[in-house]
């Protein structure tokens, strides 16, 4: 399947899983779909979860896990039927990523923490001279957390050039637009000042994504931060750029039907 088709499928699966769950985080899940599609189907060596040299992915913005779970099912790491039990009592798929779910490398969703864990994996890889690379996606709102900037200093100090942090820069966080919540400002320049190799891209454009990951591999001695300009709710017109689709609401039958139709038309 080509990447656009994979992305369409991820969108459908994640919306269906949130529909069955009755809650979830559709907005921030939809904004990272192209990034995940590229990472899991093009960029990372991650077909064997038992391979110690597999590339690592940590979804630091763990609330977007419906998108990740959809990908894990498409990779065959979890069964698709698990998606329909997301957030249900006794089910495998938790509201935020849990270690023990095949393909989940760290507990995340308490913001800032997945990023630090990814840094630890990258440091371990370097110190043990292993060849794997580490990828993590943070939210722009997540960059409110002090831990993120602690980690930003750490990654540069330890020369973690085997690590790529992607900021899903959709401009919205839980309650409101990022700049209405606190002075996030120009997130790319902040990462630059901290010493990261910063690349700004359109996070929904596969050519942009490909060139960013390619140039990240060429960066030596410095970790890379890809600031991906995205649209929260991407692909579903009534969700796009709407703070109310951040989380804690499910979809009605009509909303689901309309959303799936829009995704099909593309």
């Amino acid at each position: 399947m080509e990447l656009a088709g994979i992305a369409r499928n991820i969108r459908k699966l994640l919306l269906l899983s949130i529909y069955h769950a009755g809650s979830g985080h559709p907005g921030g899940s939809l904004s990272i779909v192209e990034l995940l599609a590229y990472l899991y189907f093009k960029e990372m060596c991650i077909d064997d979860l038992d391979d110690p040299n597999r590339d690592r992915f940590v979804l630091s913005k763990g609330h977007a896990c419906p998108a990740l779970y959809a990908v894990l099912s498409m990779k065959g790491f979890i069964e698709e039927r698990e998606l329909w039990k997301l957030r249900h009592t006794g089910a495998l798929l938790q509201g935020h990523p849990e270690v023990g779910i095949p393909g989940i490398e760290a507990a995340s969703g308490s913001l800032g923490q997945g990023f630090s864990a990814a840094l630890g994996m990258a440091l371990g890889g370097k110190r043990l001279t292993m060849s794997f690379r580490v990828y993590t996606i943070l939210g722009d709102g997540e960059c409110n957390e002090g831990e993120v900037w602690e980690g930003a200093m750490f990654g540069v100090y330890h020369h973690l050039d085997n690590m790529v942090a992607i900021v899903d820069y959709n401009g919205l966080q839980s309650d409101d637009r990022c700049d209405n919540v606190t002075a996030l400002g120009d997130v790319a320049s902040k990462w630059k000042v901290f010493g990261w190799n910063v690349i700004e891209i359109d996070g929904h454009d596969f050519d942009d994504i490909e060139s960013a990951f390619t140039s990240a591999r060429e960066a030596k001695g410095t970790p890379t931060c890809i600031v991906a300009h995205t649209i929260k709710g991407k692909g579903v017109s009534f969700m796009e750029d709407k703070p109310e689709w951040h989380g804690s609401r499910g979809l009605t039958d009509e909303e689901l039907e309309l959303a799936l139709k829009e995704i099909d038309v593309g």
Binding site: E105, A106, A107, G112, G114, A117, G120
Partner: protein
């Protein structure tokens, strides 16, 4: 006599050649936690994290996933409060193999004052699922705890300490997780201690012929073994350099209540208060956990 933080720092260097499976993480307090000796000898296994404990705990979680055993070191206040949510969500929840070793426990920290005196750490870590909580009393026990912690698969929190302590154990001592360590059998009164309070109570229990039960494991607690001791006495006295809530005294109280043992409990510790600057021993007397204070309580209990 050796401070447990020094004993810890030296022991890490001693075992590092034979145990290549652990790294040491530090947040710019290597001199305070005594991991600076390890840093000098094994820089390739030492991770400087800067004054950024939350990230350090997360990094430790990540390191553990590639087969390294991270020993995270900082002061008790930061280990149990600044970075506690990372300890819970990033380490304990996935039950990662991370060891947290905290110096500067209790008012024994002394001159630095309340901001740097962890009087809540044992209680905090006891309430987090998956954590084993250790508080050794002397160098011999500390070494056994380190050996145990490195062999054990899962998260561990351990206190070291700042004031020098003498050995209360013989060299053949063996640590057993969760079990009370009976240093002395006596009559009527059982004194339970942990960490620095153990050696302080030792001469008193000898003089007044009471039990002395050192408690190196604050979680898990082997209720059966504790119950067996408690059933043989009329009064139990717990002494800890920690808040009287949720530490040693509470652990013993749980055993007494759960097994409906007819024994009176006297809890000595920091009575829901903050510490202060001062000399560690003078502070211990001021807060009722110094040798004179302990002796006064034992005498009073014997009169009753």
């Amino acid at each position: 006599m050796i401070p447990l933080r020094n004993a810890f720092g030296k022991y890490l260097v001693e075992i590092a050649e034979n145990r290549k499976d652990f790294f040491v993480l530090d947040a710019d307090v290597a001199g305070g936690t005594c991991t600076h000796w390890f840093r000098e000898r094994y820089p390739e296994r030492f991770v400087e994290c800067g004054i950024a404990e939350q990230n350090m705990f997360g990094v430790a979680a990540g390191l553990s996933t590639v087969g390294i055993i991270p020993i995270v070191t900082t002061y008790g206040v930061f280990a149990s409060m600044r970075a506690i949510e990372q300890a819970r969500n990033a380490i304990a929840y996935p039950s990662f193999n991370v060891k947290i070793v905290a110096s500067h426990p209790g008012i024994d920290v002394g001159p630095d004052g309340a901001t740097h005196q962890a009087v809540e750490d044992l209680g905090i870590y006891r309430t987090i699922p998956n954590f084993v909580v250790l508080s050794p009393a002397d160098e011999i026990e500390l070494k056994k705890c380190v050996d145990f912690m490195l062999d054990y698969k899962g998260p561990v929190y351990m206190r070291t300490g700042r004031s020098p302590v003498p050995d209360v154990h013989a060299s053949g001592y063996d640590f057993a997780l969760g079990l009370p360590d009976v240093l002395r059998k006596g009559k009527e009164i059982a004194v339970f201690t942990t960490g620095i309070t153990t050696h302080r109570a030792l001469p008193i229990v000898e003089e007044y012929n009471t039990w002395l039960v050192n408690v190196p494991t604050l979680k898990p607690i082997n209720g059966k073994a504790f119950g067996k001791i408690l059933q043989q006495v009329k009064i139990a006295i717990t002494i800890e350099d920690h808040n009287v809530y949720n530490g040693l005294g509470s652990a013993v109280a749980d055993v007494i209540a759960e097994q409906v043992i007819g024994v009176r409990l006297v809890k000595l510790g920091i009575k829901d208060d903050f510490g202060k600057s001062g000399d560690p021993l003078e502070l211990a007397e001021m807060y009722g956990i110094g040798p004179e204070a302990i002796e006064g309580v034992v005498r009073k209990c014997l009169k009753e």
